[in-house]
């Protein structure tokens, strides 16, 4: 059974007042991770095929084709893990 850890290399808080969270996908899994996310989340907008603006269960986030995602307004680590599990697995 795949796990969130199979896809995620690192999770970091952004520096700045925004307090966003950056999820960095494993290099060899980033395309699969992005494909999984795009299948499940609602696409709001795409910017030059590089940035995908998405929502999932009222959580808005952006995925970058370089293999990173920025989540906004996530209240806890547990909430982030839950949404990553729902999107990736």
């Amino acid at each position: 059974m795949p796990t969130v850890e199979d896809y995620v290399a690192r999770i970091e808080g952004t520096c700045g007042a925004e307090k966003d969270i950056i999820v960095i996908f494993k290099y060899d899994k980033k395309e699969e991770a992005i494909a999984n996310i795009l299948k499940k989340a609602q696409l709001k907008n795409t910017i030059a095929g590089i940035i995908f603006e998405l929502t999932y269960l009222d959580v808005s986030f952006r995925v970058y084709s370089s293999g990173k995602a920025i989540f906004r307004s996530i209240k806890s680590k547990e909430a982030l893990n839950n949404i990553l599990a729902a999107l990736l697995l």
């Binding site: 952004t14 700045g16 925004e18 966003d20 970058y64 370089s66 920025i70």
Partner: protein
């Protein structure tokens, strides 16, 4: 070779002698060394430390920590809306209570170059010391510690083609001689002799700079920093600065072509180095940085460890483009193309 490196660093910043150079891990450790070795013993309740609001956290936090321990007051000098230092405010905050003024030579956010000589003169008129954060100036311009009359100068190797984990603290010899050690261990002592009568060890300190260098030094780092300095000297620091200023001027011109891009910092480019903070309408600085990342262009996003300055700018965070000797006009053209793509997206 390690001591040759010390000599080279001393020559590079025009120190009187190599003994005025203490090897440290970087700028942060250098400032902490001054705070703990000098500040812990010389700052007390009723004293004042003067700091500007444009400082990197490493020139704020050590003083805040120490202030809670010793009870002295920190006075923060204002920064103008364009990121330049409010000299009138800084100078007006000096008093007979001021013991040290702490100021960055160049802001790591706005690239603003501060007039250290002017502030050092006022500091010395008030019998206060002058500590300069040179992390963003020593790598980019000729710095003469004697001419600028600074008492302490802190800088890092990794910002000037050297490796991480090495940097230097310059301190006037007469000050270093009076200061207590920063850490205890080998190398920083002359003698440790056990007294049977007292059942204790009598310790005498080594001379500066070794008094401040406990433990096995970062020999490789010191030598690598020396080689980096030799490389920069071959180019000449005047050429390094000229190149960066030309790139910054060109970058600002190209960035002005983008209507959704706001540049922060003074419009007068003669007041700043090759650092350009900016924002793109509708995007967070992290979005901007990640967009550039897709094109292999690295910029920095966030507070850049200078949150108080972002409060002055009324910004949640900022994106920052910065240049060094290895950057080219062609790279700036590519940067501008991607920036246009971001704002049109």
């Amino acid at each position: 070779m390690h001591e040759n490196a010390r000599e080279k660093i001393a020559q590079f910043i025009r120190a009187k002698e190599p003994a005025e150079i203490v090897f440290v891990r970087g700028t942060t450790e250098a400032i902490n060394l001054v705070a703990y070795s000098w500040g812990l013993r010389n700052l007390k309740k009723g004293d004042e430390v003067l700091v500007s609001l444009m400082e990197h956290h490493s020139n704020i936090v050590p003083w805040e920590i120490l202030s809670k321990m010793n009870g002295f007051t920190i006075k923060y000098a204002q920064v103008n809306n364009d990121g330049t230092l409010n000299y009138a405010d800084f100078e007006s905050k000096f008093s007979s209570k001021t013991k040290i003024a702490c100021l960055s030579h160049v802001s790591n956010v706005s690239g603003v170059v501060n007039d250290i000589k002017r502030i050092a003169k006022v500091a010395h008129e008030h019998d206060a010391l002058m500590l300069v954060d040179g992390a963003q100036s020593v790598p980019h311009m000729a710095v003469d510690v004697k001419d600028l009359d600074m008492d302490f100068l802190a800088f890092s190797g990794h910002k000037m083609l050297g490796p991480t984990g090495i940097g230097a603290l310059y301190g006037k010899k007469e000050l270093l001689e009076k200061m207590a050690p920063f850490q205890g261990g080998g190398e920083m002592i002359k003698e440790v002799s056990f007294s049977q009568a007292k059942e204790r060890c009598d310790i005498s300190w080594n001379d500066p700079p070794w008094k401040f260098e406990a433990g096995t030094p970062n020999i490789c780092g010191g030598i690598a920093l020396m080689e980096a300095i030799k490389y920069l000297e071959k180019i000449s620091m005047a050429e390094v600065l000229k190149h960066e200023k030309q790139l910054a001027e060109y970058a600002v011109k190209r960035m002005h072509e983008c209507s959704k891009v706001t540049l922060h910092g003074p419009a007068d480019l003669s007041l700043r180095c090759g650092i350009i903070p900016f924002s793109v309408e509708g995007l967070s600085s992290h979005d901007v940085a990640l967009f550039f990342d897709n094109y292999g262009i690295m910029i920095r996003s966030g507070f850049h460890c200078a949150q108080p300055l972002h409060q002055v700018f009324k910004l949640q965070s900022s994106a920052r483009a910065s240049f060094y000797i290895y950057n080219t006009r062609e790279e700036i053209d590519r940067f501008a193309e991607v920036l246009k793509e971001i704002e049109q997206a």
